[in-house]
C-alpha cells in the first residue's frame, strides 16, 4: 500500500508539475491568458486550476510561486516511495532534458555522405530525399531517414570455378559458364519501396537473361568470339527487365569470367586443339620441303647453266674432259677387272658379284 501511495504521490507530482506530454487534459485552449514566464508546459495552465489558484491568493505570480513550491514539496516529501530530495529531482530532470536534447540532435540532423542519399519517410509516407551534406528533418518517430549508398557498385557472382553452371546453347550444346553482374542503386526510393527482395530479384533476372542470351548463340560463339556481344546483350536486357519492375537499379556491366565446355567433354575439345596443332605441323613440314626443293632446283639449274655456258664455247673438248675426269674419279674408287681377249672367260667370284651387281659404265 505504501508503494501505491508513493506512486500516487509521484503521479500527482508529475501531473501538477506540468512536465509530462499528456499531463494536462486536452481541450484547454490555453489562449485566454498569455502563459507566464515560469510556466514550463506548452499549453499553459488549465483555466480551472488557474481559477482555483486565483481564489487561493488573488495574485497571479505569487500564486504560481506558491504552487511551484507546493509541488516541489509534494515531490520531495511524498511518502516512502517518493524522491528523497529536491536536488536529486533536479538531476533526473536534467538527465531527462539532456537525453531529449541529444535525441533531438541525433534524429533531426543527418550527415549525408557524398555517395549517399537519405530517403525521408514521415510516418511511413515518403517525404523527400536528402542530398549529400547536412539534412534537417523532424525528430525520430515522425521522420525516419534511410541512408542509401548510390555510388557503391555491388557485385553478384553467378557460377563458380568449383561448381559447374551448365547452360544450353543455341546449337543444343552445353556450356559451363560463370559470370559477374555489377550494379548500383540508381533510384533509392524505387529501390526501397518497389521490390520485396531486390538482390534476389537481380540475381534471378541475371540468371534468366543469361540463359536466354546464351540459348541464342552457338557454343563456339559463347566460348570465344561472341563473349563481348553476350555481355552487352545481357546487361541491356537485364536493365530493361528491371526497369519493368521499377527496381531503381542500374546495371553497370556483366562480365563472363569463364565459358568452357563441361568437364565431361573437355577431352574431346582438347583433341580438337591437338588436331589443329597437328594440321599446322603438317603444313609446316610441307613448307619446309617446298623451300628445300626450290633451293635445290635453283642450285642444280644454275650449276647446269654455268657449265653449259662453258660447254658452248668448246663443246667437244669440254665433253671429253668431263668424261675423263668423271671416269677417273669413278674408276679410282672401285675394284676393276679388265678382260683382255673376247674369248676368254675369267673366273668370277660369285659371292662378291651377288653383293655388288656389275654395272656397265659408259657405252
Amino acid at each position: 500500500m505504501s508503494i501505491f501511495s508513493g506512486l500516487g504521490a509521484l503521479g500527482r507530482g508529475l501531473f501538477s508539475d506540468n512536465k509530462g506530454p499528456w499531463g494536462q487534459a486536452p481541450g484547454d485552449g490555453g489562449g485566454d491568458e498569455p502563459p507566464s514566464g515560469g510556466n514550463q508546459g506548452p499549453w499553459g495552465d488549465t483555466p480551472k486550476r488557474r481559477r482555483r489558484a486565483d481564489q487561493a491568493s488573488g495574485n497571479n505570480i505569487s500564486s504560481l510561486d506558491e504552487w511551484l513550491q507546493r509541488s516541489k514539496q509534494r515531490l520531495g516529501g511524498g511518502g516512502g516511495g517518493g524522491l528523497p530530495e529536491g536536488a536529486g529531482g533536479n538531476l533526473v530532470k536534467f538527465a531527462v532534458l539532456g537525453i531529449v536534447v541529444l535525441w533531438l540532435l541525433f534524429t533531426t540532423m543527418h550527415r549525408i555522405a557524398p555517395e549517399e542519399r537519405g530517403v525521408v519517410t514521415r510516418f511511413g509516407r515518403y517525404s523527400h530525399t536528402l542530398t549529400p551534406g547536412i539534412g534537417l528533418t523532424l525528430p525520430a518517430p515522425i521522420d525516419r531517414v534511410q541512408k542509401i549508398d548510390v555510388e557503391n557498385i555491388r557485385e553478384i557472382n553467378l557460377g563458380s570455378a568449383s561448381e559447374e553452371t551448365l547452360m544450353l546453347t543455341g546449337d543444343q550444346n552445353i556450356i559451363d559458364i560463370a559470370y559477374q553482374v555489377r550494379w548500383k542503386i540508381s533510384d533509392p526510393e524505387l529501390f526501397l519501396f518497389e521490390l520485396a527482395q531486390p538482390e534476389d530479384t537481380i540475381k534471378q533476372v541475371a540468371e534468366s537473361v543469361m540463359r536466354q542470351v546464351v540459348a541464342n548463340v552457338s557454343l563456339q560463339g559463347a566460348m570465344g568470339a561472341q563473349r563481348g556481344v553476350i555481355e552487352g546483350l545481357v546487361a541491356q536486357e537485364m536493365q530493361q527487365t528491371l526497369d519493368g519492375y521499377k527496381a531503381g537499379v542500374s546495371i553497370q556491366g556483366v562480365a563472363i569470367r569463364q565459358a568452357d565446355p563441361p568437364a565431361a567433354v573437355n577431352d574431346a575439345f582438347k583433341e580438337v586443339t591437338a588436331a589443329q596443332q597437328e594440321a599446322e605441323s603438317y603444313v609446316n613440314q610441307a613448307t619446309a620441303y617446298a623451300l628445300q626443293l626450290k633451293q635445290k632446283a635453283q642450285g642444280d639449274a644454275t650449276a647446269f647453266d654455268k657449265v653449259y655456258e662453258q660447254y658452248r664455247l668448246a663443246p667437244e673438248v669440254t665433253k671429253r674432259r668431263m668424261y675423263y675426269e668423271t671416269m677417273e674419279r669413278v674408276l679410282q674408287g672401285v675394284d676393276k677387272t679388265i678382260v683382255e681377249a673376247p674369248g676368254v672367260n675369267s673366273y668370277l667370284p660369285l659371292n662378291e658379284l651377288k653383293r655388288s651387281p656389275v654395272r656397265e659404265p659408259a657405252q
Binding site: G124, R125, D300, V339
Partner: protein
C-alpha cells in the same frame, strides 16, 4: 479534474494509461511498402494505401491512418513486387525430348480486398499460384519442339504463360508482372549423357576434318613445290637436251659409284672390256 486526480491517484493513473492506449491504438503508421485492410470484427471495411500505378510515392496513401480501437484491426499486405519461385518442372516437347525448367514469376497485389478474402496471406497466394505456374509452363512449352524450348522468349511463349497465369491470379487480386525461365537444363542421366556424347563425337569429327584439311594443305604445298622445281629444271635443262643427258650421266656415275656427301655406295667391282670406249687407247691403235 485536478481534484479528482488528487483524490483518486491510482484510478486516474489507470484511466490515463487507458486513454493513452486508446489514442495510440486509434492511429497506425502506414509505410510505403505495405497496404492495409482495416477489418472490423473480421469484416473488411476500408483499405489504406492500396496500390495504384499512377500514384507516385509520397502523395497519398502511406502516412498515418486511423481506426477504431479494439473493434478494428489492420491486416497488412505487401505493396511491393514479390516473387513466386517455382520448383523444377520437367517439360516434354512435341518431339518427346525432356527439359528441366526452373521459372519464376513476379507479382504484385493490386486488389488487396479480393486478395484478403481469397487467400488472406501472401504465402497462401504463392502456394496457390505455384502449381498453376507449373502447369501453364508445361502446357505452353509442351506444344513446341525441343529446339524452340531453348529460346521461348522469341516466340511469345512467356507472354502466353503470363496471360494464362494472370487469369488465375486475377481471382486472387494479384497481377503477374513478369514470368521468366531461370534455367532450362537437360535432365541428368540419359538425356544429358547423350548430349555429351553428341558433343564429343562432334568434336572428334571436327578434329578429324582439321587433320585432313592440314594434310591436304601440306600435299598441295608439296605438289606446288615439285611443279616449281620441274619448271626451273625444264627452263634450264631444255636449252640443250643432248648435253643435259651427258652432264646428268656424269653426275649419276659419280653418285652411283662414289656416293655423295651423305651416302657411301656399296663396294663395286667393275669388269671392263678392252673394247670399252674409255679403254680404247689401251690397245694402242
Amino acid at each position: 479534474m485536478t481534484g479528482f486526480v488528487r483524490r483518486h491517484p491510482l484510478m486516474s493513473g489507470i484511466i490515463a494509461i487507458f486513454a493513452l492506449f486508446l489514442v495510440m491504438s486509434s492511429f497506425t503508421v502506414v509505410p510505403e511498402t505495405r497496404q492495409g485492410i482495416v477489418v472490423r470484427f473480421g469484416k473488411p471495411v476500408r483499405i489504406v494505401n492500396s496500390y495504384d500505378v499512377k500514384r507516385p510515392f509520397g502523395s497519398v496513401g502511406a502516412g498515418i491512418a486511423w481506426r477504431i480501437p479494439i473493434a478494428e484491426n489492420v491486416v497488412w499486405l505487401d505493396k511491393r513486387v514479390r516473387d513466386i519461385d517455382m520448383e523444377r518442372q520437367q517439360v516434354l516437347s512435341t518431339d518427346q525430348l525432356r527439359l528441366e525448367v526452373d521459372a519464376f514469376a513476379r507479382y504484385r497485389i493490386v486488389d488487396p480486398l479480393r486478395m484478403y478474402i481469397a487467400a488472406r496471406t501472401e504465402d497462401r497466394v504463392e502456394t496457390a499460384l505455384r502449381p498453376i505456374l507449373g502447369s501453364q509452363l508445361r502446357n505452353e512449352l509442351g506444344k513446341r519442339p525441343f529446339a524452340s524450348l531453348l529460346s521461348p522468349e522469341r516466340e511469345g511463349v512467356m507472354e502466353n504463360i503470363q496471360a494464362g497465369l494472370n487469369r488465375v491470379a486475377h481471382q486472387y487480386g494479384v497481377e503477374i508482372v513478369d514470368v521468366r525461365i531461370k534455367k532450362a537444363d537437360l535432365p541428368d542421366g540419359t538425356p544429358l549423357q547423350s548430349a555429351y556424347n553428341r558433343m564429343i563425337t562432334a568434336r572428334q569429327q571436327e578434329a578429324r576434318s582439321i587433320r585432313a584439311e592440314g594434310a591436304k594443305r601440306a600435299q598441295i604445298i608439296r605438289a606446288e613445290a615439285d611443279a616449281d622445281a620441274a619448271k626451273t629444271y625444264a627452263a634450264s635443262f631444255g636449252k640443250d637436251a643432248a648435253f643435259y643427258d651427258f652432264y646428268r650421266a656424269m653426275q649419276s656415275y659419280q653418285i652411283t659409284f662414289l656416293g655423295d656427301a651423305n651416302n657411301k655406295p656399296a663396294p663395286t667391282t667393275v669388269i671392263l672390256s678392252p673394247q670399252n670406249d674409255y679403254l680404247k687407247e689401251f690397245s694402242g691403235r
